[in-house]
Symmetry: C2
Subunit: 453 residues, 2 copies
């Protein structure tokens, strides 16, 4: 394989693509946009937003891009930083199992900023750009190898910056050379550490990635000099951050046969916390529905994963609901005790005493002899929740494909309900917004959408 | 070693340090500031600057920080992006052998933005913060391990963002907790690939790092949530980007015994290109002074390094002077042919034909049996230039410690000349500026300096 093949070939595939003509993909993009906005409106009062707004207000600048749910505007890069954070603040936004991270909350904020600051962007073009952003991020997620995430990188940021830059480059009809350079300007800003999980910096990674993607695009637009072969060779992006051989084999495999936004598709969340805990949450909810546990009677709760299946769940001893977004112990305890697994249980308020008291009796274990189900999401994943009570009885539930995941997907009606719940403070707006998104086609539709954020 | 020791201990050491009281270090900092400004004024007409200004003008914002040599101001993060680029545009700015990169062009732009947007910053405090930034970057450079750079990362960016954030945090008298968080916000933005060498993106890395450092500081100031242990553990910064064990052994070793800005000290450049080619340049200049070569008579030029000594010199076949900043072939050919190794020979203009014609006769080789000199800079480095001419004779020069490097350092008088040459368009300004820097102490001095940029 020649030295500069990956960057060049990726750019060629992107520019030859016309996802506009794939109805399924376009519908999936509309669903993704609804879910991103539902997650953003749900997070609109997150305390991190005011902090970021105070930084942005001190900077000033031409405020031309809407900040979702805030009834105000900011500059292009500033709004991307905010909209990325807002979409991901509650960890309620979509994930994609190939990405091992969150595509929409990086790609859509970058596209919204680009659409609001460009002339004549059509709604269909925006959706097509989003499809190609997800495509890029999912393919990078597979091609970078699982070591990338396990080592400590946060794929949402490391891969999101490149995917969002590619999406905006497509939106702006960049040439081959421009797209290759944009990929390079994005790749050289690829960062993000998982040790920020459980803090406000984790959702901010989405905003940082979106902001960096826009800088990459701007640099290309002013004809700044940069490499056209950033992904290639042993000192290139894949060589440094992942596995170059794997990338050369898989990055562009079967391009265009189906779009990753459709197959396997985005995973829309019914709970506002890390998707790695959704299996346990479904299992615990089911156990709580079938039995009524007195916390005093619970001897022990075992949560069984395949090895590494809980890597994202870094909080074993959370003190706040926010930390609890990355704690399978908190999620399981809350569900067993009948707390609603809704936004209100995952704020930065302290965890209630009765939940805290149950945490020490919950433990994780790993069993690689258990066969995952063929429909497991992500592939190879399962979680078993086993409750042992004092009379010697025990109860167990196993989940391989949680609700919301591909294969157990939410319907448009489900997403409509999520959007309505998020917009309950603004009667009628969910219906208006839904209509705009489902009919998003022209440049005028795009302007309408921007006004409704 | 406890899980969170590195971040906590580094922050403790920084906050306990009072480099203001070390006269040698303070003088070295004044020298560094002179050299950074001389390099920036020399690069003030680089074509990349107008491109970046057009991005910044489209953003708008409160323009409160001077952009060096441009007679205008920009916002805090914007100015840091620009000033980092301007200082490094010609690759004429200092390097530090422990860093394997460029400390001042990241740290000083961040400090300038912070000083211009804060109340009551004293000149001595600025210099002390700069000393601690260099200290942090040099220690990170050693502790990250040589694999980091060799793999493909650009230390100026990856390590600069953390060093600049630490420097600004010290300037602002952050608390222990604030400093720990700032390190985390910076570490999670650590990126930069060496495959951008030879393009405008390479010097921009310095600006990107400075800009990211300021965001890290702002996040701390608004009390944004982030990890306090970013450097620690196998998924922390050193575990992901380098060698955690090495860092645990060396990062804080003998802290405060001497400052890295003094020992080994900054390397100020007499040539505007990559320091890895300075040994060859000195050798070639000496050969050209001693002999007068007719290009037609030159059979072959051999340039001998220790293995890996030419890693930064990625251009073997440059077409422009700008690419030639990373080409030992271009530098050597130009010197042998009597071209001045000054700013004018390293623009984006095409390389003259007579230099191009010599390039194919120049080759690199590696000899690890040669003993480096004890005073070699960087440690273990040497370069030998051997010229074979048609009559069968051959000439050779070897350099272990090039002019400007620690052990062969430039004097204040040398730096004064560099500053004067850079400011030749503004008669008298070099003298004024030099006086300000050599007397920089109070808050008022600091304001005076900002007005003279």
């Amino acid at each position: 394989m020649s030295e500069n093949k990956l960057t060049k070939s990726l750019a060629e595939r992107i520019l030859q693509s016309r996802p506009e003509s794939d109805e399924k993909a376009m519908f999936a993009a509309r669903m993704g946009l609804i879910d991103y906005l539902a997650s953003s409106f749900a997070g609109r009062q997150d305390t991190g937003i005011a902090k970021l707004l105070s930084i942005i207000d001190s900077e000033g600048g031409h405020a031309v891009v809407p900040v979702v749910g805030q009834d105000r505007k900011a500059g292009s890069r500033q709004a991307a930083l905010l909209n990325g954070f807002i979409g991901h603040a509650l960890d309620y936004d979509d994930v994609h199992s190939d990405v091992r991270g969150h595509p929409s909350t990086v790609i859509l904020p970058a596209l919204i900023s680009a659409a609001a600051t460009s002339v004549a962007v059509g709604g269909e073009r925006l959706l097509a750009s989003y499809i190609l952003g997800v495509e890029t991020m999912a393919r990078f997620g597979k091609s970078i190898g699982s070591e990338h995430y396990l080592k400590g990188w946060h794929n949402t940021y490391t891969l999101g910056v490149i995917a969002a830059a590619v999406a905006v480059a497509y939106l702006k009809s960049f040439t081959q050379e421009q797209l290759e350079k944009t990929i390079g300007f994005a790749a050289t800003q690829s960062s993000g550490l998982r040790n920020q999980f459980g803090t406000e910096a984790k959702p901010l990674h989405a905003g940082m990635a979106a902001q960096a993607a826009l800088l990459a695009v701007s640099l290309t637009e002013v004809d700044f000099g940069g490499t056209r072969t950033a992904l290639d060779g042993k000192n290139g992006f894949f060589g440094v951050y992942g596995n170059l051989e794997l990338a050369e084999q898989t990055l562009l495999e079967d391009w265009g046969q189906s779009w990753k936004i459709v197959e396997p598709g985005l995973w829309f969340k019914i709970y506002p916390f890390c998707s790695a805990a959704h299996h346990a949450a479904d299992a615990a909810v089911r156990l709580a529905e079938q039995h009524s546990f007195d916390p005093k009677d619970i001897e022990q709760i075992d949560i069984v994963f395949p090895t590494g299946g809980d890597a994202a769940l870094i909080e074993r001893n959370p003190r706040t609901g926010e930390q609890g977004r990355f704690s399978v112990e908190y999620v399981t305890a809350a569900a067993i005790l009948g707390l609603p697994l809704s936004v209100d249980s995952f704020t930065n308020a302290p965890i209630p005493k009765r939940v805290l008291e149950l945490l020490p009796r919950i433990q994780r274990s790993y069993d690689d002899t258990i066969e995952p189900a063929p429909n497991a999401v992500p592939k190879g994943r399962f979680t078993i929740v086993k409750i042992a009570v004092k009379n010697g009885e025990s109860y167990s539930e196993r989940v391989d494909c949680p609700r919301g995941a591909p294969g157990n997907a939410l319907s448009l009606e489900d997403l409509k309900q999520k959007l309505e719940a998020s917009l309950s403070y603004a009667p009628g707006h969910a219906t208006t917004l839904l209509k705009t998104i489902l009919n998003l086609r022209s440049e005028m539709d795009m302007q309408t959408l921007l006004h409704q954020l």
